[in-house]
């Protein structure tokens, strides 16, 4: 049988975690052991998740490659496919094809400090890198996570946030947009770029990984520049619409760069070379 590029792996939903209103995390295991054996990926890559009869949707693999035997994805219920996914129960079979795209060069970051900045539903692509780094904690110096959401309710991975908060080897700063705080909220209040400026993390020997809505990225980059980060020290991911995931369907390109193949991971330096088409 010749490989059919469009043929997904069959995946069983092992566990569903409710993260925030409309946001769920699926833990997926390969139905066929042989698929599991040949499957490998790296932090930053994404896949096409499908509900048979409904369609495919693109999101990142949110679990780190250091955890074997399963993958996780986190999605917000917004479109046709994510609505159908949301209706799936534990034990349901869905499709997954991937991994696609490039990776965060974690190996190159050895010996450096890491600063993660995430907004809203953009924590999942970063969570993969965060856990990857935490699982190899001795390879890195300081690890700082700044994470903001619109309201307290919208913060995802609440259990993990507690875990990171308790860890001595991680500095976690959470923030919600003004007006989004609950009475017992102990974190920061303010937009992510403002909080980054306030916290003022050191840029010395540090890699910044920024994921979030375009407007957050736009306002965070100048703040990082002020703190001494060069464009080569800042990484982000782009999320253009795509169908195939392997450079053929014609949707995701930003100028001559294909987000599905050349991305989704880009440095701020690379981003500056791209036309405004994302």
């Amino acid at each position: 049988m010749i490989d059919n590029l469009y043929m997904p792996y069959l995946m069983r939903i092992e566990r569903i975690t409710y993260e925030a209103p409309g946001v769920k995390t699926f833990m997926l295991k390969f139905v066929n052991d042989a698929d599991q054996e040949k499957f490998s990926y790296k932090a930053g890559q994404f896949g096409e998740y499908s509900v048979y009869g409904v369609g495919e949707s693109t999101f990142c693999i949110a679990s780190p490659p250091t955890r074997k035997g399963y993958i996780e994805c986190t999605f917000r219920q917004t479109g046709k496919v994510t609505n159908a996914l949301s209706g799936c129960e534990e034990g349901s079979i869905i499709g997954f094809r991937g991994p696609y795209g490039n990776v965060f060069p974690i190996d190159e970051w050895k010996g450096k400090s890491l600063l993660f900045i995430a907004g809203g539903i953009a924590l999942p692509p970063m969570r993969c890198v965060i856990w990857n780094a935490l699982d190899l904690r001795e390879n890195f110096k300081d690890i700082t996570i700044i994470y903001g959401a619109r309201t307290v309710k919208d913060l995802v991975y609440k259990e993990e946030l507690k875990d990171w908060e308790l860890r001595k080897d991680v500095r976690l700063v959470t923030t919600v947009d003004p007006g989004g705080e609950s009475p017992d909220w102990k974190g920061e209040v303010g937009f992510v770029p403002t909080i980054v400026e306030k916290i003022a993390p050191s840029s010395k020997d540090t890699i910044a990984i920024v994921c979030g809505p375009p407007v957050m990225i736009k306002y965070t980059f100048p703040v990082l520049a002020k703190l001494g980060f060069t464009d080569e020290m800042i990484y982000t991911t782009l999320e253009n619409r795509m169908k195939c995931g392997f450079g053929k369907c014609g949707r995701c390109n930003v100028g001559k760069v294909y987000v599905c193949k050349d991305g989704p991971v880009f440095t701020a330096a690379q981003l500056k070379e791209l036309p405004d088409e994302y």
Binding site: Y52, V54, G247, G250, R251, N253
Partner: protein, 341 residues
């Protein structure tokens, strides 16, 4: 390499068709409906259109169908079963009457489907197609193959290229590939030894209208040009240009459910549609028609040459002929060449 050139008498073409049919070959040839000529399953030789400059639609439907099943699934109590399409069921097809620009387009389309990831569904379809190219002895103001490296007698992409020698003359057949040899071996008596193998004088004259390398270089610095807005004002954002194009490959993937079973289908899509790139959030990186028109030209004349080392245009002129509002790609390329940055 010396090309095997044969003489096919004008009456022999029908015989060839009949013999191939007798050998159970499926032949797709241009035929007319509502005044438009398109490749269809040809039952008999009489139904094949002749004398056309160009078919309305390209032949890409054969290797890259407008809607193509890529897998079947069925749900049952036992679980989920998913089956990819059986590539063995893809029929062998003779594509009859392809213009050299279209035949050339097959290569350009292939480069998209084989860029890094190899699309075996496409490749399998292509491997089962034998292309009978027919050189052009006339052209119109929409043709510009010579501006993008082609010519009216281009052999690229054809397995056999037929050139009619004179208005009512016999055909010169150039046997170009192993697939072409197979055809000759089916009806060797129809492929006679050729005395006259000069085809140039019978070919249409298509003047070179622009320099494609100059355009490519210019486009590198042209992204922000106002020219895109001016050119695209009358564009209505339909997909006619993309769907008649031999090299446009944009597609969508859709599921078609029928109760507990169904299939996943790959179907044509177009960068001209306003919702082509829209995010679920509502954000659209190509929100204006000018941005979508820019994408169409940039993809063909800048991104493809840069990333795939081929141009995404064969100069067939179909998009310009089909456009309901006279968006003429040749005119627009010439004005890009002329405008100063």
């Amino acid at each position: 390499m010396n090309i095997d050139k044969r003489l096919v008498r004008k009456d022999s073409l029908e015989k060839l068709f009949d013999i191939l049919k007798q050998n159970s070959k499926k032949i797709y040839a241009p035929s007319e409906k509502n005044g438009k000529i398109t490749f269809r399953d040809a039952e008999n030789f009489k139904g094949i259109s002749t004398g056309y400059i160009q078919t309305t639609q390209s032949s890409k439907d054969i290797t890259f169908p407008r809607a193509e099943k890529i897998l079947d699934y069925s749900k049952s109590k036992e679980g989920m079963s998913v089956k990819g399409i059986d590539l063995k069921e893809i029929p062998e097809i003779i594509l009859w009457g392809v213009r050299p620009c279209d035949a050339n387009g097959i290569g350009e389309l292939s480069s998209i489907f084989n860029w890094d990831y190899k699309d075996e569904i496409y490749n399998n379809r292509l491997s089962k197609v034998t292309v009978f190219g027919f050189s052009c002895n006339k052209s119109d103001e929409y043709c510009f193959c010579t501006s993008v490296g082609g010519n009216p007698g281009n052999t690229l992409g054809s397995d056999i290229l037929f050139t009619r020698m004179g208005d009512d003359g016999d055909y010169l057949a150039e046997i170009l590939t192993e697939k072409g040899n197979v055809i000759v071996s089916i009806a060797p008596q129809l492929f006679e030894k050729s005395e006259n193998s000069e085809k140039e004088k019978y070919l249409a004259e298509v003047p070179v209208r622009f320099n494609h390398e100059e355009i490519k270089n210019k486009l590198d610095k042209f992204f922000e040009s106002k020219e895109w807005i001016e050119q695209s004002l009358r564009c209505l954002g339909c997909g006619a240009c993309a769907y008649v194009c031999p090299t446009c490959a944009c597609f969508d993937i859709q599921d078609e459910a029928h109760g507990k079973k169904g299939s996943r289908v790959r179907c044509w899509d177009s960068c001209g549609f306003s919702h082509f790139t829209i995010h679920t959030s509502g954000h659209n990186p190509r929100d204006a028609q000018s941005q979508r028109w820019r994408q169409r030209i940039m993809h063909k004349f800048s991104y493809m040459p840069e990333r795939l080392s081929v141009y995404g245009c064969t100069g067939c002129g179909r998009c310009s002929r089909a456009c309901p509002v006279d968006m003429n790609i040749l005119e627009n390329l010439i004005s890009i060449q002329e405008v100063t940055i």
